[in-house]
């Protein structure tokens, strides 16, 4: 439910007739990729594909960006992805940066945590930013990319799988038309109509407790931190969350009774006293109020023929942990390079199956974590309530108790147990192992110049990249593989020593990175043949076991 908002970016767009709509019914236009849904995931995926040289049709059934803040926490990993898509600075400039969270029980603080307790990263642990800003900046970026054809008020109403293609029926204000797509990517959200059209189930757990989410506008002195309460004095017996957004907007999340009447609870005159109790004053205005029952569920398979599901259409989680939008963005970065290679004929179609393998593992992890958090906040039985009570009381004086208090486990990149990874052949005492996301660290092209490893990866073109540590005889990357060299003549300097440290690297070592920045393989003493074999594997050449 939207109350009011006024983002300082364009949010209203017009429907425009496209020549595809004037083609005779027997010969609909053909497109390599149609993305359905212009939310954060669909927009990012379209940009990524276009930057890789693909033409993309992006359809959305509305003609405006959705109201309400909705997703607000964007992770370091998402910001690094948005850097590659050319929108990272804009998001971070507008967003509020945070890394510290505090957990309270009653009136007292149980503990605090820092999600990024070390320096030497380009991006912070998280920013908070209203989803409408994120979407508006992504739409702006699309206007620089002529390969994306963004069609508002184009609603998919029919889907027919053909041999190696999909026939879509699309409803517009001027009637229906059809088009052929080699691949359709469904980013149409938790209530995905494409999911229904392919007849897929969306099974999982519904949590009985209701949560009230209110975004309020006020000037306040609270620090930019995530504050979570169990049993706070202003909301006895339940949980509460306070989180800052740009423009003096604050996200407040209150757990309600299981049997609370949503219509009654959502009325501003009933929400106001609750929030006033929490804040100790009532000098605030409502931006957005919404009442939720959370669900954790996923599709059994993310790929149905030539239709591929990404983001909330494929998996849905409760919000404690910021695992919704962030995991959708990870879906996009995982899928785009694979789809690009398959469309170019550089990799077999079975490479796409690894999108399902890797991202359904990630979905399971996100569902597991957010289910545990939600169960901790809303215990299912007397016994679970007792266990929680014990943990909360032990947390006052024991380290182990603090670690078991679960007020949300925040999104970090998943590590993939993947057929694309080459297992370590050497001994490593640290660094990202194959299947893990690359780590950032400061680098310098010239003395005194500050840049980051993620910048170097982006500037190289976000393709397969060999990150090597010079020992005077650095090995050449195979053809078509980008090169980041640390140390030596023409290489990047590692002024703080953090690159070598974070990658547990001695001179001579090398990491093979995938186009999504994940580690495919690593070598203490790389040989050309070993790198070539790992590259071939990461490109999907050995996927005989997958259909």
């Amino acid at each position: 439910m939207a109350q009011a908002n006024s983002p300082q970016a364009k949010t209203q767009f017009g429907y425009r007739r496209h020549p595809d709509q004037d083609r005779p019914g027997q010969s609909p236009a053909e497109h390599p990729v149609v993305v359905v849904g212009a939310g954060p995931v669909g927009l990012s995926l379209a940009i990524d594909l276009a930057q890789r040289g693909q033409r993309v049709v992006l359809l959305d059934d509305a003609d405006r960006i959705g109201e309400g803040s909705r997703a607000i926490c964007f992770s370091k990993r998402s910001l690094e992805y948005w850097d590659r898509l050319g929108v990272g600075d804009r998001m971070v400039d507008k967003g509020v940066v945070w890394s510290v969270g505090r957990i309270f029980h009653g009136e007292s603080q149980l503990y605090q945590f820092n999600l990024l307790p070390e320096d030497g990263h380009k991006r912070p642990a998280f920013i908070n930013l209203q989803q409408y800003y994120a979407e508006a900046y992504l739409v702006d970026r699309i206007s620089d990319l002529p390969d994306i054809d963004l069609r508002w008020r184009n609603k998919v109403t029919g889907l027919e799988q053909r041999n190696d293609s999909v026939l879509l029926t699309i409803e517009t204000p001027e009637g229906a038309y059809r088009l052929h797509a080699q691949y359709v990517i469904a980013c149409d959200g938790a209530r995905s109509s494409l999911r229904q059209m392919v007849g897929a189930e969306f099974a999982g757990q519904v949590f009985e407790d209701q949560f009230l989410i209110a975004d309020v506008k006020m000037t306040a002195e609270f620090p930019t931190e995530r504050w979570f309460w169990f049993d706070p004095p202003f909301h006895a017996g339940r949980s509460a969350l306070l989180h800052r957004q740009p423009d003096d907007v604050w996200r407040i999340d209150l757990q309600l009774h299981r049997y609370a009447d949503p219509v009654v609870e959502k009325k501003p005159e009933n929400v106001r006293p609750r929030i006033a109790r929490m804040l100790g004053h009532d000098k605030f205005e409502f931006e957005w109020i919404s009442l939720y029952k959370f669900q954790c569920r996923r599709m059994d398979r993310f790929i149905h023929g030539s239709v591929i599901f990404a983001g909330d259409s494929a998996h849905q989680v409760s919000p404690f942990g910021a695992r919704g939008a962030n995991s959708g963005l990870e879906d996009a970065e995982n899928l785009s390079w694979k789809l690009d290679r398959v469309l170019r004929g550089l990799s077999p179609a079975s490479l796409l199956e690894t999108y399902h393998v890797e991202r359904s593992l990630a979905a399971d992890e996100n569902i597991r974590e957010s289910t545990r958090s939600t169960d901790f906040m809303a215990p299912n039985s007397h016994q679970e309530a007792r266990l929680r009570k014990a943990v909360l009381s032990l947390a006052k004086e024991t380290e182990f108790g603090k670690r078991m208090v679960n007020g949300g486990r925040l999104s970090v990149p998943c590590s993939y147990d993947s057929p694309l990874s080459s297992p370590d052949a050497d001994a490593w005492c640290g660094g990202p192992s194959p299947g893990c996301s690359m780590l950032d660290a400061p680098v310098a092209a010239r003395a005194g110049e500050q840049a980051y490893l993620t910048d170097a990866f982006r500037k190289g073109g976000t393709d397969f990249t060999l990150l090597s540590f010079n020992n005077g005889a650095a090995i050449d990357a195979p053809d078509g593989v980008k090169d980041i060299r640390i140390g030596g003549e023409g290489g990047l300097a590692d002024p703080s020593g953090l690159v070598a440290k974070r990658y547990d690297a001695e001179p001579g070592a090398a990491y093979l990175l995938r186009p999504d920045g994940y580690v495919a393989a690593r070598f203490r003493h790389p040989t050309r043949a070993a790198i070539a074999a790992a590259l071939s594997r990461a490109q999907g050449s050995n996927l005989n076991g997958l259909n």
């Binding site: 169960d375 901790f376 007397h382 266990l387 943990v391 009381s393």
Partner: protein
């Protein structure tokens, strides 16, 4: 060896979840019975009467604190 209250599990959430799931589907009374058995099994595994006494002391202390808090709230 004194009682360790450091966080000893690599993944404490897994341990908490294992206990939660062990109780799923039990009645309240069954849960209490289950807990009693679990406590005895773990106490035997520790096998150190001083550690066990210290653990009992910590658990008692937390209960007393909790009761005082409840009384304060009722007043």
């Amino acid at each position: 060896m004194p009682l360790s209250t450091n966080s000893n599990f690599a993944r404490p959430d897994d341990a908490f979840r294992a206990i939660v799931e062990a109780h799923r589907g039990l009645t309240d009374e069954q849960s209490a019975d289950f807990d009693a058995a679990l406590v005895l099994i773990l106490a035997n595994h520790i096998g150190d009467i001083d550690v066990l006494r210290e653990a009992i002391g910590l658990a008692k202390r937390r209960m007393i604190d909790g009761q005082q808090q409840q009384q304060q709230q009722q007043q």
